[in-house]
């Protein structure tokens, strides 16, 4: 009997310390790269960046601005103006590159960290703050900018994206790589362990839905490292579901643009889903509530600082596009202006009305809820009547 089972016995339990993959931060990683950390353009056989230096300048500006928005929001949280903030620091290239590859009619399903993609879609950054300040649950209309609400439950939005893409299919909105519609779902490496994400892969595959799964592998799910989520590189999972997977240097805005553009075109023309693993690193905490010094080495952070997504574009533009200090100073000044406006806007966000939390539970309100709202209003009003009486 044993003859029919060649080779060594399968490893039933492999120790956590010996991952097959992915490589540690210090190792070289195979991925699509078009701009090195030193700011040099490189070729790839399958992916080309087909825009000019003006576009690269635009990407640089986008990345500087969203990093500044992010640092301002972090500061606002530290000063008690936001209850929480999920920083995108280090993931600017993944978000701007993929976000700028979108067409107007493509639809985005974000997690709660896609501030850069929101920026690309034209969502006012101030609207992102309302959720974290606790005055609303996201004040933007997903239909205005084709940017869905932030989703806090990990991975849930990948199914929504797939269903939405099935709707695009049913509306015959695909079939043309340039003018068709696609959907993109953002999620993290931690989410790849969720059932919903795997179900979304199955649905997208069997229905050939026009959806791009964009996984920002930032190496950490709060304090759990990537080797607690997977034993193989995440992009390789796509093969098991029956569609292509690509790993891209997530700190290279040119490569993330090129790879996402190709995946979106594939979806729009009707060729089905793609999984993109943007290999990147979360430079800050998961959110302002955790302390990354408790769970990761400072050497890792130092190592990734050398791969900074903005610095390499800065180097490229300086060396190859002949830009001088004036341009970069201009962008920095604009970033400061955006941040100042964000701060002033945040402090001026209106407080919700007393009975607001009863609103919009139902389209057609139930009598029970109407009764509770009335009772609460009377109860709340009794305090102001009391204070008037005392005065």
């Amino acid at each position: 009997m044993s003859e029919s089972v060649p080779g060594p016995a399968p490893e039933v339990f492999a120790p956590h310390k010996a991952p097959v993959s992915p490589p540690q931060a210090s190792e070289e990683v195979e991925f699509v790269q078009l701009l090195t950390p030193e700011g040099e353009r490189v070729e790839h056989p399958d992916f080309t960046f087909d825009l000019d230096d003006e576009a690269v300048k635009g990407f640089y500006r986008d990345m500087v601005l969203v990093r500044r928005i992010d640092s301002e929001a972090t500061a606002l949280q530290r000063q008690g103006e936001l209850g929480l903030w999920a920083s995108l620091l280090g993931q600017e290239a993944a978000q701007i590159g993929s976000g700028r590859a979108l067409n107007k009619r493509d639809m985005v399903f974000p997690t709660y960290r896609e501030h850069g993609v929101a920026w690309c879609q034209g969502v006012n950054p101030l609207n992102l703050l309302g959720l974290f300040r606790g005055v609303d649950q996201g004040a933007w209309d997903p239909k205005d900018n084709n940017f869905h609400l932030y989703t806090i439950v990990i991975g849930a939005q990948t199914l929504h994206a797939t269903g939405y893409a099935m709707g695009q299919q049913r509306d015959h909105a695909i079939g043309d790589a340039d003018n068709g519609e696609a959907t993109i779902a953002y999620f993290g490496d931690g989410a790849s362990s969720q059932g919903d994400v795997n179900e979304a892969f199955i649905w997208a595959s069997v229905f050939n839905a026009p959806v791009v799964f964009f996984c920002q592998n930032n190496q950490w799910a709060i304090s759990e490292p990537i080797d607690r989520q997977t034993r193989i590189p995440l992009y390789q999972r796509a093969a098991g579901f029956g569609f292509p997977g690509v790993r891209v240097d997530g700190n290279d805005v040119l490569a993330t643009y090129a790879v996402t553009q190709q995946a979106l075109r594939r979806a729009r023309e009707g060729s089905g889903p793609t999984l993109i693993e943007a290999y990147t690193y979360r430079m800050g905490a998961h959110t302002t509530s955790d302390d990354p010094t408790k769970y990761r080495l400072s050497e890792d952070l130092e190592h990734w600082k050398l791969k900074d997504p903005i610095a390499r574009v800065h180097a490229y533009l300086t060396r190859h596009a002949g830009l001088d200090h004036d341009y970069f100073d201009e962008v920095d000044a604009e970033a400061d202006k955006v941040a100042a406006e964000l701060r002033a806007g945040c402090l001026a966000l209106p407080e919700p009305e007393l009975t607001d939390f009863f609103q919009h539970v139902y389209v057609e309100e139930t009598p029970q809820l109407a009764e509770q709202r009335e009772q609460f209003a009377v109860y709340a009003a009794s305090f102001s009547a009391d204070s008037e009486g005392e005065g």
Binding site: Q137, G138, A161, Q359, T366
Partner: protein, 325 residues
């Protein structure tokens, strides 16, 4: 006018809704060629095509999660969960996404999703096929939870549910799928979706029920006549939101109430009704509101289900107790 079973009435109702609105799509496991394990969707895929009657992979969270996406795109998905006990892999999508999307978007998004669940016991099934989890949904703000007690209601309520812009969990009494009644499709529904129906007027006590217990309670009321008791029977039709006005009016008249359901006793719909009636009708009551229900056990093996489920005798015993105060 023809006699129609409850299962076929839902099928007919789905068909009307799909003909009326091309955005209505039906989705679930085995609902296409097979027509569902209870044949409720029989023939729909043949007539409306695979894009509107979607045979899905076998994953409940995926069914509901993709329905959310379809609803965001402007569709009106009607999802079938094959059995009550199988809904829980989808529970997160139902309570965190479907139920809250309108609230989270501050009214900008609507979730016109119907989740059909054949539920309840009495069919001799194996475990996870006979449960009554309605409270677990009724407790979630943003959801509406309904159940039909007869074929005529089944026909209209499924259409009303699909037309609703609020998400609805529709519990179908599976052991009543083969009960027949006359259905005249030209007569419009007698009640809006969330109004309870007084099925039998009485003076001595009120039986409050829904779904599979409607027939049991009507039989109990007939039997009680022999004991000289005149019972009022109310089909709640909607579990969330309860039609309190109809319940209160009846209890103020009869002064006694028994709630009957298959779901476990503690924290069940009966607990909520008893509390509300006590709060609102305290001075009218001659007795505490009693409950005749399943027990606080998992649903038992089917050879014991006759003892677990409220039957005519247990309902009459409840009536005896409420009359004894």
């Amino acid at each position: 006018m023809t006699k129609i079973t409850l299962g076929k009435a839902i099928n007919a109702g789905l068909r009307v809704a799909m003909e009326k609105d091309p955005k209505v799509v039906v989705m679930g496991e085995d609902i296409g060629k097979l027509g569902g394990v209870f044949r409720v969707t029989e023939g729909l895929q043949k007539d409306f095509g695979e894009d509107r009657v979607i045979d899905t992979p076998l994953a409940e969270s995926g069914i509901i999660g993709t329905a959310v996406g379809l609803a965001l795109r402007g569709y009106r998905p009607v999802c079938e969960i094959q059995f009550d006990g199988f809904v829980f892999p989808a529970y997160d999508q139902i309570i965190n996404q479907v139920a809250k999307m309108h609230y989270r978007s501050m009214g900008k998004i609507r979730m016109p999703v119907v989740i059909r669940i054949p539920y309840g016991g009495g069919i001799g099934a194996v475990e996870h096929h006979s449960e009554s989890p309605e409270t677990l949904f009724a407790h979630v703000p943003g959801l509406k939870v309904i159940s039909c007690g007869d074929p005529v209601d089944a026909y209209w309520m499924i259409q009303q549910a699909i037309e609703s812009d609020d998400p609805i969990v529709f519990f179908e009494p599976k052991r009543r799928y083969h009960e027949k009644a006359e259905l005249d499709e030209s007569v419009p529904p007698s009640l809006p979706l969330h109004q309870a129906k007084v099925l039998r007027e009485g003076t001595d006590a009120t039986l409050l029920c829904y779904g599979p217990m409607v027939k049991t309670c009507l039989q109990a009321a007939e039997a009680a006549v022999e004991d000289g008791r005149n019972l009022e029977v109310i089909d709640l039709r909607t579990i969330a939101p309860f039609d309190l006005a109809t319940i209160f009016a009846s209890v103020r008249k009869t002064r006694r109430a028994v709630v009957v359901h298959e779901a476990p006793y503690s924290f069940g719909p009966g607990s909520e009704i008893a509390a509300r009636v006590t709060e609102e009708c305290f001075y009218h009551l001659e007795a505490p509101v009693l409950r005749v229900t399943g027990y606080d056990t998992p649903y038992p093996p089917s050879r014991m289900e006759d003892d677990y489920l409220p039957d005519l005798d247990r309902v009459l015993d409840g009536v005896d107790r409420v009359m004894g105060y």
